[in-house]
Symmetry: D2
Subunit: 363 residues, 4 copies
């Protein structure tokens, strides 16, 4: 007879598009991951009452709330999930931590290094997670595994980019993501932060960087595009580029990694695949392998469908949560956590400093 | 205030891998499709008690049952879903129909035309569905839309194939899919039936065909591979090939369609994309478009995630169910239904006849 | 000091587009292949005097001629190259052979098996070649090498197709390739013959086949499309499809080969690449390799440019001639020769017979 | 009757691998381009007598010479072609110009801005060319045409890279390309110069830049890798990356260009194709077109083979020469000329300055 699962009540703050992805993960994780917790979608909190009710009904939340402050303090809540504009991450996370909750926070962690440090300090004895969900794209997790196994040898180059075309849509320009007061930055926080987290995850820490930013659209106070050149502590050269003016790209996060023994390439718009070149193959066979990362023997492949059966965007959230809960059950480490969010925040800050000064910045 | 939804209790017969996909759809459809039904996973029925309990717990079924006969007769069941080996489709579907239930049946519909005809007759006044889920791959639905809009003009060629490598695995050869008594046929029912349904959906009825089958593995009584050449009623030439010995392919359903105004190509292992060549473009611009079918203005794209965010295998089941329930609410037509399953069964039978006789067969 | 090369005078019959490719090979072969012959473009023969002069000037022919009969008999001619409509292949080849010339003939060899047999008989003691140039696409030659090395194991499936869109152009319909009297057949001789030669080269002889042909365009007396299912002597199942109504394809010869140890795929519109799946790789690494067949250690790669530097259509003619001359110098075997052309002619004939009878045909 | 062509005697200095490509162009240009010149491969000059003779025989040079000084002064020479290490470009080009010859020079033009300026001054009244051959890749020429037609609108981003793996081969490290005294720089001159020329050709002049360089291999005095971020005068943001440590890439020059109306992407290892996204298409049809740039109505497509028939590396040299000679016949402008080579040299110099200073550099 299976052990009874520990009930875990969730309070989710936010009901926008990213909240849908979080909440789908709460509902689905137990069906694909064997975790000793039974998640309950207890209460969802947002400001717009009419939309909130529809959201709660559609996604099966037991209750709704209009104020996050009282919500995070509820004694029947175990987990606070933050899915609101960046500027609210810090106050909610800090309040939740003070109330002793497990805290899950959408990326980027904060809008300043100071906030991120404070948040990281306050959650230090609590389970915590930042939704850098792309770490759980199976192809990215496989890249990490292969790098750790030494299949790439010494890494010479990390070359990452993240393009979408959101910036050319005037309607989007009015949303919170395009306001410094709500978002803190533009392409840096929205797009580049994902790439920075990926680079840290796969290659390691960046030690110095030079950057430029640009705002194409009149009247905006955030960056539309950002370019970075950098050196990692291990000697890898890193280049990063993110833009909301990448016409034709919808969710175009990609990277290439070149090492002494091989290379890798990935594109999020083709997320079930990882390209791998093995320089150890005999010369005539040396070629880029187009690996369909759906198993066998691939990250998360035993959790979802059979080999050859693709997964989608939402599964990265489910797998993030699955790994988090597994780690929690075993008192194991989990990444990306608030500390990871803080490290990325430091990079984001250094990028803004370098873009302003026109100088290299050390970390 | 939203209207109350009509509760619909599901009984699912089966707890294997395809049952997981069905049951995920029952749980998820209401979150992605606005349908006036509230689905309840009432009872799951299977023969292996120990696995059944684990399955029911993991997927949230209220009850379990060991015998399908009594289960389909329960007065508190509205829908019977059939997810068992092919040979059981007919008896369960017929019993469910006699009990007045909505009947959902895994493909292929049956193991003979006679069975399929009987099943189709008995459900004629009941809502019914065959899980030819690939009709709801957004890229395939988009192909259908564009063909109906005339973007391909007169269709010259349908060229379809479905390869996987399941046949080379001796362990799989012992499962029910490799026994004539359980499955009725091999690659024909398992793989080719999907392609035939796709061809009917996109091009129309086949009027004559010639085929060959082959069994590579010693000791098997079903076909490992099947090749078909055919003519459609509208003059299109059709070629079909399916095999369980397509080493390197995991779920390789694909097709190319060539028409007077353009052409299309699709590969299920890259299911979020549709290739389209528009012969009406200026010459220098004529090229294959690689359409990322995640919106805007693509089938199901408003149901799932934002443009550029991929969906996976399971979403084809969710969208099948979403469309079925929408049609049900509006007393509209739904395909693929049992009649479609019957038409495909006739093709499967003609293929077996032609393979035996070495002659062309008319339909 | 290098040995003096033996001068070899060429007479080319024809000045159309394929003649350009042949004659480019005569001029270029000595620059890329180390052969002990010095080829001289002695005389080009064609019916249209004004075009002929321009052609001869542009391509550096020493002389022109209007009648092939006297041209092939010239004592100062060593090699007769045939680049004219199919119906003229036999008379010219036979006359050239009777005059003791080396005979090079454009594909398909003839318009009937009888002709092809006669031609093959008459050249039996003379060096001879059929321009099945695609055997020397480096990727196809690499496929052959890997199959011979056993990298594919037992071959289950050969699946070939050749689509272009020439048939939809009314202007092309008036050229000799669309007249039975000049061409003998339509897509069969023009397109399918290449695929059949490729299949024989890579897999072996076909022992039985079933086919259908169709003419889409009104008023044509040749086939626009042909479909074939077949069995090879070694047990491989073969499917073939060729059409001039493949809208969007310009020169779309392609194949997939599935074997017990791996699979291969090729597309002539991407001719510098060969796809290879190695089932012997560890499971997590099993994937399709996208081999850029430009070296090192690839067929012809040391003859042309450095690895990563692509070659084009014309190089397949140069490499065909280079291999032919190398074999000639060493009294070695060369393929494709007239015997190969005859075997393909037998297949073409069997295909026409089966298409008419609707029955399987044995070879 | 065709006009007699003007004879043009070529002296080529150099007999290495790039000399092969030049000399193939001299021999082939008249067969594919209708130019009023008859090129004669008069004399080839190189230091290694034994290799030189073999080269001259293989490629049909009338004479050989061991000293370039006397060769460029010969009164029977019309054209001097420079295909030697970078450090010799300036003295040979200046001598040839002083002797009144047409001067063709391999890229990069020189090893310093001073040299390049002097060279540009001295050829100012003579026809001159720098072999930035990739401008004549049909796909790149098509990109230029489409940009000039406004199909991309305002250009936001140019993102270029050029990776090969030459640096990991110790044997290559001993060749002249890896010695500062012979080459002037490493990846900058060898690889990046091509990209810079492409960027100038497609987007325009760069006004400021920041760069970093790195040498991975011990004991080398040239850069193995270089990264650049930049602004073009027209407001485009540019990023450039070139490396000899791009394991898995053989000749991987590529770029993406994003504009307000569309985007383009190119990869030299797939040189017959250009990817184009047209933001003016209806939403459901917006997609990347994979344009096979072999005609109809594409640059050079009427010169080479029929649509669908690929060309290779060498054709870019033939087309460069074809355009040069056509311009010469019509007293028209030709690019890339020495002035273009000089502008790229200035960029290369600015890149080295910025890499050393760690500061942005204005041009």
């Amino acid at each position: 007879m299976p052990e009874a699962k520990r009930r875990m009540n969730i309070a989710m703050i936010g009901s926008g598009s990213i909240a849908r992805a979080h909440c789908n993960a709460f509902l689905q994780v137990g069906r694909f991951f064997d975790v000793p917790f039974s998640l309950s979608t207890k209460v969802v909190c947002a400001r717009d009452r009419s939309k909130l009710e529809a959201f709660a009904t559609q996604w099966g939340w037991a209750e709704t709330a209009l104020e996050w402050q009282s919500t995070v303090d509820r004694s029947d809540v175990d987990v606070v999930d933050i899915a609101v504009p960046n500027t609210l991450h810090a106050p909610i996370a800090i309040a939740a931590a003070k109330a002793g909750k497990i805290v899950l926070c959408e990326k980027p962690l904060a809008i300043s290094v100071e906030e991120a440090e404070q948040m990281t300090t306050v959650v230090r004895d609590l389970p915590n997670l930042v939704w850098f969900n792309y770490r759980r794209v199976p192809a990215i997790a496989l890249a990490k595994r292969w790098i750790e196994e030494g299949r790439l040898g010494k890494i010479f180059h990390f070359r990452g980019s993240y393009f979408n075309q959101s910036g050319i849509d005037p309607a989007k320009g009015k949303t919170w993501r395009y306001q410094k007061s709500e978002a803190g930055s533009g392409a840096i926080g929205d797009l580049l932060s994902h790439l920075l987290d990926t680079a840290r995850d796969l290659v390691g820490e960046i030690s110095e960087l030079s950057s430029m930013t640009h705002t194409f659209a009149a009247g905006r106070d955030v960056d539309d595009a950002v370019l970075v050149t950098s050196r990692f502590a291990n000697g890898t050269l890193g280049s990063f580029e993110a833009s909301r003016f990448g016409v034709g790209r919808r969710n175009g996060l990609g990277f290439e990694i070149y090492g002494s023994k091989g290379s890798l390439a990935f594109d999020l718009e083709d997320m079930n695949r990882l390209k791998f070149f093995d320089a150890g193959d005999p010369p005539a066979l040396q070629a880029t392998r187009d690996v369909l990362v759906t198993g066998p023997d691939h990250p998360s492949s035993s959790n979802f469908w059979k080999p050859g059966h693709l997964i989608g965007y939402e599964h990265t959230f489910i797998a993030t949560l699955g790994d988090f809960l597994s780690a929690l059950a075993q008192n194991g480490d989990f990444h990306a956590n608030f500390q990871d969010g803080l490290e990325t925040q430091k990079l984001m800050s250094a990028i803004q400093i370098s873009a302003t000064s026109g100088r290299w910045t050390r970390l």
